[in-house]
């Protein structure tokens, strides 16, 4: 992996506004939510970047169909994010691009992870209106490092993702404490995998209980952004790197994400909608 030091490049140069996607709990759909938030913003005409700071489990490249691509560098030595679309409105940076194979593991202790995160935050030549930052689960090195380094950048805040069950809500509650302690604005909570409609009998079976996220939002006095049901089509799209928003535009999940984006950036919506 190339290792270059560009000490003079400020944090998140070329980025308009930044949204962090956090959880505390693994497997709740942070990466999936990151991709849907980014895709929905892109669909409204914005230029969007995704920064994947999950060093051990970087999922974003596969989910947007750019697995295995190479990262180019600028003459100044900064990384050019990989474009996921022909219009160049969705770009990605992830450590996955720097690994030689799928089995390559990043087995690093904290200090080395911190150094990589700092590089990811300062050495990318972004040119985007919004940057969505996908994080690993937890409240540890990566999160502390991100918070420390982005203080000078215009960060809108964090979206917290949970599933309805208490085991997840417990961890997301701790993530809220983390946000409070580090002074990050909580934009709201998304309750993911909330309900599943059996394709055969249409009885909505709330697999993982329901309402835990909404209750947490009420208790913590933060916005409840929405409930996203399980949709096997969404899982399949992330598996195959396809654009769910384009393929299933009218689906309940797409509607929820449109609503989430409206809540996050709503007032600018009319200005930015363009014909695709």
């Amino acid at each position: 992996m190339r290792c270059h030091h560009n000490r003079f490049w400020p944090v998140l140069q070329g980025v308009g506004k930044t949204i962090l996607v956090l959880s505390g709990k693994g497997g709740v759909g942070k990466s999936t939510a990151t991709v849907q938030i980014a895709a929905t913003l892109r669909g409204k005409g914005y230029r969007v970047g995704i920064l994947d700071v999950d060093l051990c489990g970087p999922s974003i490249p596969r989910m947007v169909g750019v697995e295995g691509k190479d990262v180019l560098t600028t003459p100044e030595g900064n990384w050019v994010p990989v474009y996921a679309d022909n219009e160049k409105r969705l770009s990605i940076i992830s450590i996955a691009f720097f690994l030689d194979s799928k089995t390559d593991a990043v087995i690093w202790r904290g200090p080395k992870k911190n150094a990589m995160i700092k590089q990811l935050l300062t050495s990318v030549a972004w040119d985007v209106d919004y940057l969505i930052v996908d994080t690993p689960p937890g409240t540890s090195d990566e999160h502390i490092s991100v918070m420390e380094n982005i203080k000078s950048a215009p960060v809108m805040g964090a979206v917290l993702v949970t599933t309805p069950q208490m085991v997840a809500v417990d961890d997301v509650n701790r993530e809220l404490t983390f946000c409070k302690r580090t002074g990050i604005n909580v934009l709201g909570i998304i309750e993911n995998m909330s309900g599943f409609v059996c394709p055969s009998c249409s009885e909505c079976s709330n697999i993982l209980a329901t309402g835990g996220g909404e209750q947490l939002a009420a208790k913590a006095k933060v916005s409840f952004l929405g409930r996203v049901p399980i949709d096997p089509n969404l899982v399949r799209c992330t598996e195959e790197g396809k654009n769910f928003l384009d393929m299933f535009a009218g689906s309940p999940v797409s509607e929820v994400y449109h609503n989430i984006i409206y809540q996050l950036v709503g007032e600018n919506q009319e200005e930015m909608e363009v014909e695709n």
């Binding site: 489990g57 089995t103 069950q165 085991v167 399949r236």
Partner: protein, 315 residues
């Protein structure tokens, strides 16, 4: 393993780290010269105490994934409960997910506290022959977040291993956080001093999970931890009303079966996504006894049997 002295600066790499005394964070630290001279890389005096405790535990089983949310904590709890069905065996669960400790809730022990005595910390007993230790028991409230960097997490793990008085166990099931980082490196370093140790790897069927799980297999091979096999969780969802099976997490690239084949590992079992399991975990109930005839219950018992057979084959 690494240790951070009291007077160390914020990003201290740890006195046992390769970068001890040489990292940029070391500038200005009163210990810098000592660390740089290599004196701090002397063997950790606690290692002996850790090994002494671990030697009273017959078999250590690490439950790993790489991917979050595949059911490591659920599988850890269920396997431990299944192993404890044999009342002649003593079973322990060690929860080293420092940031997201789930075991207290999953086992119905949220209100419990840890007591300490001359013999060390006593774990919380779920039943006569099943005990658990988690940082969750040390937190004052549900809102408390553990916002620690690696070295401090490593210190906690070492303390668990050194101070918890399990009073000799047949099996210790270790629940881990997702990833391949500090916690994993530390636990492997300590457990490897007191074999036998082996791992079970948990995955869900979809490629996005396998991407991370392959890395966990690489990790195990790099640190010489034998892998008993792979458990595929949430294979299909069975509708409680019409019994239709839906693959919510489709095995687009072959799932756990393919992963087992390509890595040359046994597939220990495939467990369904049963909504009742999540509910049981949320309420700390023993799913194995609440739903003795559920396919998942039979699945867990079968996997536990294979783990017991593996352990016995080592003797």
């Amino acid at each position: 393993m690494s240790s951070v002295p009291q007077d160390a600066p914020e990003h201290c790499p740890g006195t046992n780290s390769e970068d001890a005394g040489k990292a940029s964070a070391c500038a200005g630290c009163p210990n810098q010269q000592v660390c740089a001279s290599g004196a701090t890389k002397a063997p950790d005096p606690d290692l002996g105490a850790v090994k002494e405790r671990l030697d009273t535990i017959k078999y250590k089983i690490l439950v790993l994934s790489g991917k979050g949310g595949v059911g490591k904590s659920t599988v850890s709890a269920m396997l431990a409960r299944a192993l404890a069905l044999d009342e002649t065996k003593e079973v322990g669960i060690l929860d080293i997910d420092i940031c997201g400790p789930s075991q207290p809730r999953v086992l119905g022990a949220e209100e419990e506290k840890v007591h300490s005595s001359g013999a060390g910390w006593s774990p919380v007993y779920i039943s006569e022959n099943l005990a658990v230790m988690s940082i969750g028991f040390l937190l004052n409230s549900a809102d408390d977040a553990v916002i620690w960097r690696g070295p401090k997490k490593n210190g906690m793990i070492k303390q668990f291993l050194r101070d918890v008085d399990w009073d000799s166990l047949d099996y210790l099931v270790v629940d881990t956080p997702p990833g391949t980082s500090d916690e994993h490196l530390s636990i492997v370093q300590y457990l490897s001093a007191s074999p036998p140790v082996a791992a079970v790897i948990v995955t869900t069927p979809q490629e996005v999970a396998l991407l991370d799980v392959r890395k966990e297999i690489t990790f195990c091979r790099k640190v010489n931890i034998p892998i008993i096999g792979i458990i595929e969780n949430m294979t299909t969802f069975v509708c409680p009303k019409c019994k239709t099976e839906t693959a919510i997490f489709p095995a687009t690239t072959g799932g756990g079966t393919q992963l087992a084949a390509e890595s040359g590992l046994p597939l220990l079992g495939q467990l369904p996504l049963d909504p009742r399991i999540a509910r049981a975990c949320d309420h700390g109930q023993n799913f194995l006894t609440e739903e003795p005839d559920a396919p998942a219950t039979l699945g867990y018992k079968e996997i536990a049997k294979k783990i017991i057979e593996y352990c016995q084959s080592l003797s």
